[in-house]
Amino acid sequence: MSHSMVLASPAATTTRELAFWILAIIAVVAGLGMVLARRAVHCAVLLAVVMLSLAALYALQGAPFLAFVQVIVYTGAVLMLFLFVLMIVGISAADSIVETIRGQRLAAGVSGIGLLVLLSLVVGHAAIGPASPAKASFGSSNVTGIARLLFTTYVFPFEITSALLITAALGAMVLAHRERTSPKPTQRSLSRQRIAGDHPTPLPGPGTYARHNAVDMPALLPDGSPSELSVSEVLSGGGQMGSPGTTALSAGTSDQENAANAGDA
């Protein structure tokens, strides 16, 4: 009730209009960017932007519950899940610009424009009236109204979707489960392997420098070349090993030279 009165005031309408246009433009630009971005991580971040602006739009339309659920569940959980899998797959894996299927881009573009035209026609043709005032069935607030609907009219789909969620969780566990083809190596056998192998000592850790300090930064060997053993295989194998840069190296040698020169002179 209260917010509907707020919604009715003229100042609120212009604010709302302004808010809508800003949010709409942000959402569209982010969406386009998401489709066109080369790196997958950029796509994920831009999708997060779209989702957040949509949450704001929900709030603008008098659906605060949905807005918060969008942020918490959709952006917070689902999108983060996306990011986790991206990390497994490889962060810097980039799509090549060249399209392998002939005519795919052209056809996709043309049909996209066609769909846009058709849907606009539909929307233009349909009688979309103005916003009607909130009904009495809302109850005291948005949440109570939704709760009332959810547990009366839509209780059956509610129960079924809960079953769906359980099934999805189980399914994910089954799919992602790795069946061991050989017995799990015990601590004893692992250390045995290590001692008997060519490298009994623990592997070196990543390098720590003034400007760079991360797990993907390799340590330097005595002759100055980066040691691949110091970086995790996942990163070095995927070509994501960082380079310490020449400044670290040259700074160190020039200091030594300076020290030697100073010592000499």
């Binding site: 997958a40 796509c43 994920a44 659906a63 569940v73 799509d95 392998t100 929307v123 009236g129």
Partner: protein, 100 residues
């Protein structure tokens, strides 16, 4: 006055962007994300129509869509990871055994 028509128009635009994205991108994850964009656009339309009618049914349906989308993402990403483990590649174009 921002009428629901504006919101529906925005929803249409986002939907089309997502659809084209599905067709054009090669990384399986990015394709999935474009599908999520399409679902979000549909949610926006639902909410706009709910506002137009003055009831909350559209919002409840949007809620359900979100739940189902979440479940779908869970399973889909699990499939993706197991495929990636086997193939070491996340490109959609790898599944081309049906080629003539």
């Amino acid at each position: 006055m921002v009428s629901p028509a504006h919101f529906v128009a925005l929803s249409v635009i986002l939907f089309v962007i997502g659809g084209v994205g599905v067709l054009v991108r090669r990384n399986a994850l990015v394709v999935f994300m474009c599908v999520e964009l399409m679902l979000n656009a549909a949610n926006l339309a639902f909410v706009a129509f709910a506002r137009m009618h003055g009831t909350l049914d559209g919002q409840v349906i949007a809620f359900f869509v979100m739940v189902v989308a979440a479940a779908e993402v869970v399973v889909g990403l699990a499939i993706l990871t197991s495929i990636f483990r086997a193939r070491r590649s996340a490109s959609v174009d790898d599944a081309s055994l049906m080629k003539y």
